[in-house]
Subunit: 167 residues, 3 copies
């Protein structure tokens, strides 16, 4: 029986390890897919909760250092005006690379805004996420976003993110 039991134990352990890998990636995908809907809903607390409380959102238009700064961005009159006129922060599907308790994700985003002449694409952006497993689950530690207007750091973010590397 010992061989069978060992085999069973090994197979269980392998299944648990593989399942954990899928669950990690699913949780990160779920986290990243929350940003657009939550920020366009003006849900400041929920947006900030995607990050660790000392997490950073480094975007070319602003450097947001910690939960207070992220919440303040969402509640700012600038952001509220986008919501009032109509806007969509559409993130593409994240490509996730997990390495133990750290992970990297990458995706494009389009900011589509509504105005008197209908909708237009205001920005197309490269997004690089660094994430960490915390006791409360996966959280973003640093999100780096740069507009794809020809500046060289934006393609570099996409390449690093797609390969699971830091910026």
């Amino acid at each position: 029986m010992s061989t069978d039991a060992d085999t069973t134990t090994d197979r269980l352990a392998a299944l648990e390890r593989r399942l954990q890998a899928l669950e990690d990636e699913r949780e990160i995908t779920h986290l990243v897919a929350g940003y657009g809907p939550l920020v366009d809903a003006g849900a400041a607390e929920d947006v900030a909760a995607l990050w660790t409380e000392d997490g950073v959102y480094d975007v070319d238009e602003a450097f947001l250092d910690g939960g207070d700064a992220i919440r303040a961005m969402v509640t700012s009159s600038g952001h509220q005006k986008w919501i009032e006129r109509g806007c969509a922060h559409v993130l593409g599907p994240a490509r996730v690379t997990v390495d133990g308790d750290e992970a990297v994700a990458v995706c494009h985003s389009l900011m589509v805004v509504h105005g008197e002449q209908g909708f237009r694409v205001r920005r197309a952006t490269a997004n690089h996420f660094q994430l960490r497993r915390t006791p409360a689950g996966w959280r973003v530690t640093t999100r780096t976003s740069r507009v794809l207007d020809g500046r060289p750091e934006s393609p570099a973010l996409l390449g690093a993110g797609a390969r699971g590397e830091r910026p």
Copy 2:
């Protein structure tokens, strides 16, 4: 042996439960990701089959109550004209929250249409899906879609959907 057997049984049951959760979410993601390609293909039966037969597609431009109404939308001259001129209903990645045999999903969508001056974004929309596990698999029971033009119900749909709540 009884302790080992119990442990094995417990571990198997835990794996089966966790795997089922991933499979549920994957099936819902697959379902929602079918809408855009199928509606742009004009595949009326396939589009309607994403919903229960008494399912509702409640969009600001139309209230479609049941499979016949959904099929009629796809085969309508209005929709067929969009296809003939060229159009893309691009849904973002769905954020899914499963609760037993019910689920909520949320995503943005962009309707991009082709015309004499090339492509333009005709609509950016908030999409909230309620889904139910049926004997045939997960199906949409109610999809509520509102254009993101500043009307307050659209951000509210995004927020509720991202939190796994009903509208």
Copy 3:
């Protein structure tokens, strides 16, 4: 004990089979989600590595037959100019259908480009992927992409892809 052992073995086998199905789909989703970031990064080797070395990228603007042709597209002055001015190849979430060692995936894509008047959607495209399990993992064997400008093959690609069929 033999009944319990049989049951355990059967449950392990079922779990392994179901987990493999999720892993296959996850790997294909990961592969497809890499295209946009990698092509906008100008990462010619990484882009080509999404395909088998004899894989085909059949797009209305070009017929790329094998890894050398795909690498040459990425390093071409035409593509490099898009990157220099700013561009985003945003693919929607792939709907994947696996059948043994072959698979089909479908998604929309938007090519958003930057210019003097800001961003605009240059193309909305139907993308149909055929994939194969290789010793090195899943790879694209043929990607067929057609612009959604009203030509009938584009909706046909979306419909076939969403149903898991070949074009």
